[in-house]
């Protein structure tokens, strides 16, 4: 029962976190009506997950062998692209949204494709969706004795646990001040996207599309990425106990490059600071 609880919670954790943030986000920018995009994205992803679960159970052959891998890799990179776009957009408009008073962003920006936020919800739920559906389905089919019923109960409880988690993120996010909320979620989404990006690179290495290499370090003795905490950190920030050089490179590059998109103010302030310091020094030397 405990094992199935952890498995489903781990699969649902990332999706719940994303949905919670997106709901809170749309509330914050004064577009609560656009939350329907997120709901629709989640529901569609659930339907797609079930369809995919049925498909891999029915189809055999090269399509079944290859299809899920291609889809999994595609969904990972789609999520990265969408999250990057979203973070960039949030960074750009952070100043307008910042004031509590003028937090309803103007109509022109609102017409900005908020449905893309729904697409983020879709990728978040669909990424581990089919897997979870198949897992729970297996439990249901096998539910005969008491222990297997308990396993099913554990699985369903894990799903509920994820839902509660998402709801807590949503409620907590709503209570945070606007500025704090945007800073916190920008950091979270940046880490999440960087983790997804390196996961995608790892998957490409796994199928041989990118050259693979030995792990650069091994921290599994401190924190195994298969344990409960390690698993959560994997979903949250892309933690890997044995990362390859390419994965580390991808992760760092993403944090540095996309971090400047997420936090444009940070970069601007830094460069101004630097030029202020260097200019007088240069004068003195002349």
């Amino acid at each position: 029962m405990g094992a199935t609880f952890v498995i489903v919670l781990r699969e649902g954790f990332e999706a719940a976190l994303l949905l919670g943030i997106l709901y809170a986000y749309l509330t914050k920018i004064g577009r609560p009506e656009s939350r329907r995009y997120v709901t629709a994205g989640g529901v569609l992803a659930l339907a797609a997950s079930i369809a995919m679960g049925v498909a891999v159970s029915v189809i055999s052959g090269p399509l079944a062998d290859l299809g899920p891998d291609v889809i999994a890799i595609g969904v990972v990179f789609l999520a990265v692209v969408l999250l990057t776009w979203h973070g960039w957009w949030m960074g750009r408009h952070a100043r307008e949204i910042r004031g509590e008073v003028q937090r309803r962003i103007d109509e022109a920006h609102a017409r900005q494709r908020l449905w893309l936020v729904g697409l983020i919800a879709f990728t978040g739920v669909f990424r581990e969706g089919a897997e979870t559906v198949l897992f729970l389905w297996g439990l249901l089919v096998q539910a005969e004795g008491v222990s297997s019923w308990l396993a099913l109960v554990g699985g369903v409880a894990g799903l509920l646990g994820a839902v509660v988690l998402g709801w807590l993120v949503f409620q907590g996010g709503r209570r945070l001040g606007v500025q704090r909320f945007f800073t916190a979620t920008s950091v979270l989404l940046l880490l999440l996207a960087a983790g997804l990006f390196s996961t995608g690179v790892g998957k490409l290495q796994g199928v041989g599309l990118l050259p693979s290499g030995d792990p650069v370090w091994d921290t599994s003795w401190v924190l195994d990425d298969h344990g409960a905490l390690g698993g959560v950190l994997t979903g949250l920030a892309g933690y890997r106990a044995r990362p390859t050089a390419l994965e580390i490179g991808a992760y760092s590059l993403y944090i540095v490059l996309v971090g400047t998109l997420f936090f444009p103010a940070l970069v601007r302030r830094k460069t101004y600071g630097r030029s202020d310091v260097t200019a007088p020094v240069a004068h003195r030397q002349i």
Partner: protein, 120 residues
């Protein structure tokens, strides 16, 4: 301008996916189709639980799930995650490995479903 950026996203995605399919497809048709190594999942265990492969050569694991529920064949080291529904067989292509031991496990029954690939 903003809208163009928004619309550009799906295009990037579509081209990424197409590239992925294009790159992966020829491998599946297998010009030098490596031989498959059979593994069976039975009673939440892998049989055999240890497979020996030649180092430096890609290979294919042909995993059959004889149990009545899905299992996920997973290897953290090899970056493989593959759900295999009840009664199904999946071919898993594995890249050329350096000599060494690479553990794998069944994500849904990780207590019992443990195995390893030994590349020599």
């Amino acid at each position: 301008m903003l809208r163009i950026e928004g619309a550009a996203v799906p295009k990037i995605v579509v081209s990424l996916l197409l590239a992925l399919v294009a790159f992966t497809a020829p491998r599946a048709s297998g010009q030098d189709a490596p031989t498959g190594i059979p593994i069976t999942i039975e009673n939440n265990r892998f049989v055999p639980s240890e497979v020996k492969v030649q180092a430096g050569k890609p290979f294919v694991l042909v995993v059959t799930n004889k149990d009545a529920k899905s299992e996920e064949f997973e290897s953290k080291e090899l970056r493989i995650e593959k759900v295999i529904p009840a009664g199904k067989t999946a071919s898993i292509r594995v890249r050329a490995l350096k000599p060494g031991t690479y553990p794998f496990f069944g994500e849904f029954n990780s207590k019992t479903a443990q195995g390893r690939i030994v590349a020599e």
